[in-house]
């Protein structure tokens, strides 16, 4: 069965004769992997990512009726997911009174202890390199490098100009490559 477009899913959701839960479940099915990966890359730990992903979809459910379609559905959901991640990381800092770099150091340690990375040191170094980037730059890098997101779409997600995003990604690529290059 061919995947339905966002417009079709929205129309189904808003159709009073159709079951809204059914349409919503189709939306979840379509975007759950992408949103999970996006969130997981930011917060690293699966349990945290699971909570945040559920929060994202619950917010989507609550506000889908009023979604004005001035952006695409998936950029809107990505924006919700991004805001959830940033709020989570901010809360994490406040809870432990840690300055910014310590939270990332903590996440970097967690990455090191994850089983898949035992076999692939380069992959582990890449993740540590990404974690060393400032938060917003890390988002830009992940969205471009992993999600292959267009800058115009990324601009809607992050609320930053296309030019600034291009520059940010360019610098991020240089920094990460330098970090993971063998000495």
């Amino acid at each position: 069965m061919a995947e339905q477009s966002d417009q079709e899913l929205l129309a189904l959701f808003r159709d009073s004769n159709a079951n809204a839960h059914y349409a919503f479940n189709l939306i979840v099915k379509k975007y759950q992997l992408r949103l999970y990966n996006h969130v997981r890359r930011m917060v690293i730990v699966h349990d945290d990512a699971n909570d945040l992903v559920q929060n994202v979809f619950i917010k989507v459910w609550k506000h889908l009726e009023g979604f004005r379609e001035d952006s695409q559905l998936f950029t809107w959901m990505y924006r919700i997911a991004t805001n959830e991640c940033l709020a989570f990381l901010k809360q994490k800092r406040k809870r432990y009174f840690l300055p910014i770099h310590d939270v990332e150091a903590e996440l970097s340690q967690k990455v090191s202890s994850m089983v898949p990375f035992d076999a692939n040191k380069l992959e582990l170094k890449l993740q540590q390199a990404i974690l060393s980037l400032p938060e917003k730059q890390r988002l830009v890098f992940n969205l471009r490098y992993y999600d292959n997101m267009k800058y115009e779409e990324m601009s809607q997600v992050l609320g930053t100009s296309v030019g600034a995003l291009k520059a940010s990604y360019h610098h991020a690529v240089n920094k990460v490559e330098k970090f993971i290059k063998p000495d």
Binding site: N37, P116, V176, E177
Partner: protein, 157 residues
């Protein structure tokens, strides 16, 4: 065609980063097995539980706070004015002194007034008048009563 253009852009951006190029496309973090099979039902359960949440009085909502404040002010006003009414009725009882009673009698309202009411009112006035005396007035009276003999009192009348 648009995808081809995007693909070319992505490649160009990594042309000076060969290691990143080689690692591109690797799935970094793995979700637990069957995680996505149960995610939808977990989300639906949470949606159902939020729909059943208990009613919470939004105390800090501006509208509710405004309503509470208005109710409080109205209650205070009712209590204040009801006390005020009681005072007024007391005043009215005091104000209905003998001049008013005289007037009422002259104008014919005396028929409706019972004598006991008039006497009660006059007694009340007298009691209040006496109770409003100062200590020096009482002392003076006692002095006069003690000083003056019966003959002098009769002569005075």
């Amino acid at each position: 065609m648009e995808n081809n253009h995007l693909h070319k852009e992505l490649e160009d951006e990594l042309k000076n980063a060969p290691i990143l190029q080689s690692l591109k496309g690797n799935s970094t973090f793995q979700a637990p097995e069957n995680y996505f099979d149960s995610l939808i039902s977990n989300i639906q359960d949470r949606i159902s539980s939020t729909n059943k949440s208990t009613f919470v009085i939004p105390v800090f909502r501006p509208a509710f706070a405004g309503f509470s404040l208005a109710l409080m002010l109205i209650s205070i006003a009712i209590i204040y004015f009801s006390q005020d009414e009681n005072k007024k009725s007391d005043l009215q009882a005091q104000e209905i002194g003998s001049p008013i009673i005289d007037e009422m009698i002259e104008s014919g309202y005396y028929i409706d007034l019972e004598e006991s009411h008039i006497s009660e009112t006059l007694c009340d006035l007298q009691i209040k008048t006496e109770s409003s005396k100062t200590t020096s007035d009482i002392e003076l009276e006692n002095y006069l009563i003690q000083s003056m003999n019966e003959t002098s009192l009769i002569n005075e009348l």
